[in-house]
């Protein structure tokens, strides 16, 4: 199993996504998430961050383009339990009658037999994952009984239990206090050092440069990508969050090609 020991990159090649309401949410997106890095994904509300995540995870069928994880197409990578996804909070039914422990155990289903009967190893990994995010004492709580930060950590634990090499986190810091944010960042850095590839979307621009090795700026297409130092400039941010003048868009394409 050589593939599970080495870090994996993500290549997004000329991706366009159209929703069923004929809205083009993402067009001609090219980017590469380098293996073994923490890459921040930044863009305005409605800019297409979640859409890009869902496309990478194969939840959305692209109208054009190709995505690869390491040498695998997404479906293969998922069958090998290489990809974990931590959803944005508003995508979860918090009233669902499951406990935190149950949710984290769902991270192990891909390793279990047909009947999904957990082995001793599955249980151990679930407990370790809960321990790692500091949620052990809440394991018997129904998921709706948790605070915002605890909810995030519960789903992070599920991703840990899954042991995915690539972890995608959609806005893990919204509704989270400074202490929990620090804790999640520390955990992400540990995971990176263990050889995971991490893609994280966030609106917390202040903390990006403290933990993201690389940054991708996104507003309906990729506007810039590269190391945080090069990419996370005021000029680029103005362009991402301001309008989208065609001229600077072309400039950015030229620039990002140089960067890569």
């Amino acid at each position: 199993m050589q593939t599970t020991t080495q870090a994996l990159d993500i290549t997004v090649d000329n991706l366009s996504i159209t929703y069923s309401n004929a809205r083009l949410a993402l067009y001609n997106a090219y980017c590469r998430v380098e293996s073994g890095t923490i890459t921040g994904l930044v863009g305005p509300n409605g800019g297409g961050k979640s859409t890009l995540f869902k496309a990478i995870m194969g939840f959305l069928q692209p109208s054009q383009g190709r995505i690869r994880v390491g040498d695998f197409p997404v479906l293969k990578a998922q069958k090998r339990q290489l990809m974990a996804y931590v959803p944005q909070s508003d995508e979860v039914d918090w009233n669902f009658p499951v406990s935190v422990f149950d949710v984290v155990m769902m991270g192990r289903y891909g390793y279990m037999n047909f009947l999904r009967i957990p082995s001793a190893k599955d249980r151990r990994l679930v407990m370790e994952s809960l321990e790692r995010v500091g949620m052990s004492e809440f394991r018997h709580h129904q998921i709706g009984e948790l605070s915002g930060g605890q909810k995030k950590r519960a789903f992070l634990a599920r991703a840990l239990a899954q042991e995915g090499k690539v972890i995608l986190l959609d806005e893990p810091f919204t509704g989270v206090d400074v202490k929990t944010e620090k804790r999640i960042i520390d955990l992400m850095m540990q995971l990176r050092d263990e050889g995971h590839t991490i893609l994280v979307s966030t609106h917390d621009l202040a903390s990006i440069s403290t933990f993201c090795d690389r940054t991708i700026l996104l507003n309906r297409t990729i506007l810039a990508s590269g190391t945080t130092e090069e990419t996370f400039t005021e000029e680029n941010l103005t362009m991402t969050f301001g309008g989208l003048p065609v001229m600077s868009l072309q400039q950015m394409f030229a620039k990002s090609e140089v960067d890569v």
Binding site: E91, M106, Y109, Q162
Partner: protein, 291 residues
């Protein structure tokens, strides 16, 4: 003493009739199957889909009669076919799911009506609509049992995956499971359940049995296993009591089962310890007093 004996006799008297004992155990079995499915249906938010399947089976029953094959096969084919049609139309047009469901199931149902009135048969439309468990034939019982046992086996074997599918289909995909298969597994077990319940509750009332037990469980518990237990208990109790009481009161059996079940639901809705209306009211009052 004599009074007590009289009451006792009055209570057990109906049970000496074989047809009633049979009706009670058949409807209890149907209640069990429906309760199991209802937990998944309420959590998935598919009650409208259940409505659609149950109406869509009508032409299947008539066609099966005309061809001389078991009604369960025709009913299942058309019920499941309707869900495939719904899925296909939804994926190919920009219509919302509820509109597609509305169009497809009324279309199937109307087609069934036309067939019933055109093809000469001894099918009693009233029995299809509202059930006829007191007059159920042995053949129909066998079909009910087969449909029910298949449903139970499938759910028993795939219950974890189905629960994951209801809770977080994206995660199911993320770990490489085939959600398309899960989607059709849940739909086909639902169609089978409706086939099993056809003779007991009828297509109109089966919706109640597919939604209410799960809802009762959901109001009373935060854990799936407990929710399932409560759903089964309330459903089976309603089926047994409903059938039994329908004899004494001389009323429609399906109707009596569903009225009993609905009463249980109303009690739960008001008195549930955590999510009941009373409890919610008290909580609001406490907040006001605290201020």
């Amino acid at each position: 003493m004599i009074d007590l004996l009289a009451i006792w006799n009055w209570l057990v008297e109906p049970l000496q009739y074989g047809f009633l004992r049979q009706a009670i155990w058949v409807s209890a079995f149907v209640g069990l199957i429906c309760a199991v499915l209802s937990c998944y249906i309420t959590l998935k938010g598919w009650s409208l889909m259940g409505d659609a399947i149950s109406h869509a089976v009508v032409p299947g029953v008539v066609v099966a009669y005309a061809l001389g094959i078991p009604f369960a096969i025709g009913a299942f084919t058309f019920g499941f076919g309707a869900t495939v049609a719904i899925g296909y139309i939804k994926s190919q047009t920009r219509l919302k799911e509820d509109a597609v469901i509305g169009i497809v199931f009324t279309g199937f149902f109307a087609f069934g009506l036309v067939l019933v009135t055109k093809i000469p048969s001894n099918i009693d439309l009233f029995h299809i609509l509202f059930g006829n468990v007191l007059g159920i034939s042995t053949q129909d019982i066998i079909q009910t049992l087969i449909a029910g046992f298949i449903t139970l086996m499938v759910v028993l074997l795939r219950r974890k995956d189905l629960l994951l599918f209801c809770f977080d289909p994206n995660h199911a995909k993320a770990i490489g499971l085939n959600t398309q298969v899960m989607y059709y597994t849940l739909l086909s077990t639902m169609a089978l359940t409706i086939v099993a319940a056809l003779q007991t509750a009828g297509i109109i009332l089966v919706i109640s049995m597919l939604v209410t037990p799960g809802s009762i469980g959901y109001l009373l518990s935060d854990r799936f296993d407990r929710m399932l237990g409560i759903a089964i208990f309330s459903s089976v109790l309603s089926c047994v009591m409903g059938t039994y009481l329908s004899y004494h009161l001389d009323v429609s059996t399906g109707g009596s089962i569903v009225v009993f079940l609905t009463l249980l639901f109303i009690l739960t809705m008001i008195f549930a310890p955590k999510y009941g209306i009373l409890r919610q009211q008290l909580r609001q009052n406490e907040i006001i007093v605290d201020r």
